[in-house]
Structures are given as C-alpha cells and as structure tokens.
C-alpha cells in the first residue's frame, strides 16, 4: 500500500534532481526548468501531507506556489529575453560581470 | 476505490466515444464540403457513391495509403509525435463531457460520460490548452518557415483566446455554482426559458467567438490560412499524420459544440415532446452547421486584428460581464 512515505521519497528525489540541475547547468533556460522542478517537487509533498493529515492547508500552499511560479516565469522570461538581446548568450557565466 | 466493473465500463465507454467521434469527424468533412458547395450553388462531391456519400471512404483510403514523408531537416521524433499529441488531446478532453441523459440498457443504468469529475469544465479547458503543443511542436520541428509562422500564430492566438473563453464561462459558473457539466445541465431543466443563453447573452457570444478561434475555424483560421502561410504548421505533413491533425480539429469542433449546447443551450434536457438525446444531437448538428455557415459567409481577419479584438474588446467585455453578474448575484 502506497503511503505518505512513498510520496515524500518521490518529493525528495525530484527535489534533489531539481537542485542538482540548478547547481550544475549553466544554461539560463535550464535554470528556469530546474526551478520549476523544485517548486513542483515541493507541491507534491504539500499535497501528499495534506491528504494524509486531512488538512486542506497543504493544497492551499501548493495553489499559492503555482501562482508564484507563474509570476516568476513571467518576469524571469522577460529578463532572459532582454539579456539575450543584449549579449547573445544564455550562458549563466556571462552574467558574471557587474556592468550595465 | 477502483473495482473491475468500473474499469471495464470506463474502457468500453472510452473506446465507444473515440470510435464514434472519429467517425463523426470524418463524416463532418463530407458534410462540410456538401454544405459549402450548396451555399456556393455547386454540387460538391458527387461521383463516388450516391450523392458522393462514399467520398468519405475514398478520402480515408487515400490518407491511409499515402506516403508518410518526413522532411530531411526535420527533427524526426518530435515531427512524428506532434500530430499524435493534437489528436490525443482532442479526444482526452471528451472524458469529462456528458453527451446524453442517462439511460437503462439490459437493466444496467448507463451514464454517457466517461468520468464525472467535479472540475469537469476546468479539465476540458486545461486539456484543450495542452492541445497547443500539437501545432507548436509540428511547426518547430518541420524545418519550414511557413510551419514556423503557423506555429507562432497558433500559440499566440490560443493563449490569448484561452483568457477570453475562461473568463466568459466564469459568469455562468458563478450563477450555477458548480464546475460539473452534469450540474450545469441539471440547472436548466425547466424548458427553453431556463436556458442560460437568456441570462448570459454576452458570455454566450464571447464563448462562441473564442470557440471559433480555438478550433481554427474561419473567420479566425489565420493559423493555416492558405493565401498567407500555405497550410501553417501542417505544411510539411502528408498522409495519416496530416489526417490526425484533421481529425483532431474536427473532434475539437464537436467538443466545442457539445460544450456550448450544455452550458448555454439547455444541454440534453428533454424539450417539449423531443427526448433529451435527440435534442442534444440537434443542437450539436446546428452548431456544426453554424461553423460551416460562418466559414462560407465571412472573410478572414488579419492576425493583428484578431489580437486587437481579443485583448481590447473581448477580454474587457468578459471582465465587465463577470462584474455585472457578481453584482446581480449579490
């Protein structure tokens, strides 16, 4: 029988994958993707806990996280396009200099 | 939670829905050619079978036996899977749509809906929005500029009109208080005066316009307008893969017709002496006919006009409609 533990293990593995992606990939787009994985991993954990404890707060948190993710993507992609137009690169390492 | 009988029943229903809708989608192409022909004082397909009825079979044989061409520079796996996505999402969206009133067959009550989930309307719109990936991936992987332009148009337009269709359908939902299509249907049992179209005329018009857009029908078929971008995202497709796009488009048309009939036009409630199931068929047929009629009667619009009308006319109108409905409900 699948219980809370299984869902949390899934959350943990997904979160690790996302975290490794954030740390290791130097492509800015990949950074966004990995962030989505992180947020989604947390979501599934929240909803699982919400079900197994009979409390709707977990689902609320997941709902708010999805809203935050949507706004993050809207602003982030705008910045990404600006950066790409200016530099012609989506390499994270090109963000190192602090000049305008 | 899941017992075997339910699983078997669901699978059988799913197979029936897919088979019937696919057949109807094929039949709709024949009807389209006939109706357009009569409106233009032509005869339409006449040679194959009586009144050209077997044209449908001839078209099917042609599609199945045609060579499946994959362009040299195309990204092969994505190119191959894109039409499958388009057709699949069109059919998956039908899982939460009720078609007829429940009836009894061999002492076993059948609900003609695959799964009555409590967020049915959200589900249908969500799956329809996933359907964007078909045109998008097809256009990106085809290595063809027409395809790319078609894909770009498809994405921009569908994302924009999802806003309109979502907001316009919100007002009826507020009045009924449920997202389940069965509940929405049951709220309109009292004859023609109960139809939501009388209480929400603006939402009805907005949803219908968004429906025309989401199914890429004229006058909003800028996605695959022949004179501008050849066949849009489907330019490089041939044979059965192109056929899948086609079936997906007509299945979407049927879904939109069923949705409009259920939400605004009384659904499958019996009307006067006509039983509910027949009423539903009549309404859906009327909507399919309307789709064809509009195609014959209206010229195309330009993509920029389409965007203008979406964001500066339709979206504000739907928001105003929601506000008015809210005040009226208070």
């Amino acid at each position: 029988m699948i219980g809370l533990t299984h869902y949390l293990v899934l959350t943990g593995i997904l979160f690790s994958i996302g975290l490794v992606g954030v740390m290791r990939r130097t492509n800015l787009l990949m950074l966004f993707f990995s962030t989505e994985i992180l947020l989604n991993a947390v979501n599934i954990g929240f909803v699982a806990v919400s079900k197994f404890y009979g409390d709707l707060s977990g689902q609320m948190f997941a709902f708010f996280i999805i809203a935050v993710a949507a706004s993050e993507v809207a602003v982030g992609l705008g910045l990404l396009i600006l950066w790409y137009k200016r530099n012609g690169s989506v390499d994270l390492n090109s963000l190192q200099m602090m000049k305008g | 939670m899941f017992d075997t009988a339910v699983i078997i029943e669901t699978v059988v229903k799913a197979v029936i829905v897919v088979a019937v809708i696919a057949a109807l989608a094929g039949f709709a192409t024949f009807i389209e050619r006939k109706v357009l022909a009569f409106m233009q004082r032509r005869l339409g397909p006449m040679h194959v079978g009586p009144y050209g009825l077997l044209q449908l079979a001839a078209d099917g044989i042609k599609l199945f036996t045609k060579e499946d061409i994959i362009p040299q520079n195309a990204i092969k796996p994505i190119f191959m899977i894109a039409p499958v996505i388009a057709a699949t999402t069109a059919f998956v969206a039908m899982a939460a749509v009720p078609y007829f009133p429940e009836f009894t067959l061999f002492g076993y009550t059948i609900h003609p809906i695959i799964s009555d989930i409590n967020v049915a309307l959200l589900y249908v719109m969500g799956v329809a929005s996933v359907g964007i990936y078909g045109p998008l991936l097809a256009g990106m992987s085809s290595a063809n500029k027409w395809s790319l332009l078609g894909a770009a148009r498809a994405v921009v337009q569908m994302l924009s009109f999802e806003v309109v269709s979502g907001l316009s359908v919100l007002a009826p939902i507020m009045m009924i208080g449920s997202l389940s299509l069965i509940d929405i249907n049951d709220a309109q049992t009292g004859g023609i005066g109960d139809w939501l179209i009388w209480k929400q005329p603006l939402a009805f018009v907005l949803f219908a316009i968004a429906g025309f857009m989401e199914t890429n029908r004229a006058p909003f078929d800028t996605v695959e307008f022949e004179a501008e971008i050849v066949a849009g995202y489907a330019t490089e497709y041939s044979g059965m893969r192109w056929g899948l796009f086609f079936i997906g488009e007509y299945a979407n048309m049927i879904t939109i017709s069923v949705l409009v009939s259920i939400i605004f036009m009384g659904g499958y409630n019996a009307f006067w002496f006509i039983p509910g199931g027949l009423m539903m068929l009549l309404k859906v047929s009327f909507w399919i006919f309307l789709f064809l009629w509009v195609r014959a009667a209206w010229p195309h619009v330009r993509p920029d006009q389409l965007m203008w009308v979406c964001w500066k006319v339709l979206m504000p109108l739907s928001v105003v409609n929601i506000v008015i409905t809210g005040f009226a409900l208070l």
Partner: protein, 165 residues
C-alpha cells in the same frame, strides 16, 4: 490499482525530470519537463486534489511550458551558442549522492509527526470546501498573491516595451 498508478506516474515524473537535467538542447529539456508536469498532475488527482490537478494542467502544461517553448523558438539559440558543460553527467551524479542525507532528514522529520487515523471527509479536496477555505482562512494570502501576479504582469509588460523612453 492506486499503487500501480502511483508507481506508473512517479516513474514518468522521475524520468522526465532526469531527462530535463541531462539533455543538452533546451527544447528537448522542455518536452521532458512536460512529461514530469503531466505525471505530477496525475499524482495530484490520485491525492484527491482535483482542483490542483486542473490548475497544474492549465497553468503549468498549458501556459508556462508553452511560453517557455515559444521563447526558445523566439530566441532561436544556435547550437554553438549553447553553453559548454563539460563533465556535466559526472557532476550531476555526484550531486545526487551528496543530496541523499537531506532526503533522509526530511523523512525523519515526518516520521516524528502523528498520522491521521480517522478516514478522510467525503468531499475532501473537492472544489467547494477548497474554495470556502480559500476565501475565509486564506483570504489575505489570496489577495497578496493576486497583487503579486499583477506586479509580475506589469513588470513583464515593462520589459517587453520597446526602448522609446
């Protein structure tokens, strides 16, 4: 059946996530991410969260990922412009090993909590109780999140504007 569905969906979720960080081309990564997101939507449905299931499909798969792929198409990043990532796979593997203790920590924290014994309410996670809770107990966060979305909307419009000012 539930167990089978869980294993099936979580397998695809993990496969998609793994493909996302391993694949080199952004488009392939995005497609792989779609698999993950749809599988997670299925898991939401398994967990009685039907509203989140719909929201996940509409917002993530329908809007966010479409936007991503559209941006990738718009930018048209050449193969040579993609960042070189030497030893990527090795680092990914090592990173995964390093993160195992973190997972164990989370699991131990949850084992310390008491589990729910009585069965769930009949309408748990359906849209009506969810909405009621959202607009009573969580009203202030809800308003704040709408403000955040508005700010993000205006911000995106400002970024996208042509440089006429």
């Amino acid at each position: 059946m539930n167990d089978f569905l869980f294993i099936f969906l979580s397998f695809f979720a993990l496969l998609g996530a793994f493909g996302m960080i391993v694949l080199h081309q952004p488009v392939h990564s995005a497609l792989s991410l779609i698999v993950t997101l749809l599988a997670l939507a299925g898991l939401f449905a398994l967990l009685n969260a039907s509203f989140l299931f719909a929201v996940q499909i509409i917002v993530y798969a329908g809007a966010i990922l479409t936007l991503f792929i559209f941006i990738i198409m718009f930018l048209n990043v050449k193969e040579s412009n993609l960042p070189k990532e030497p030893n990527k796979t090795l680092y990914l593997f090592l990173g995964g090993i390093v993160l195992i203790p973190l997972n164990l920590l989370v699991l131990r924290a949850f084992y310390a909590m008491p589990l729910l014994r009585e069965p769930l309410a009949e309408d748990f996670g359906e849209i009506k109780p969810l909405g009621a809770e959202l607009f009573t107990k969580w009203l202030l966060p809800f308003e704040l999140i709408s403000l955040l979305l508005l700010v993000a909307l205006i911000g995106a419009v400002v970024f996208a504007r042509k440089d006429e000012v």
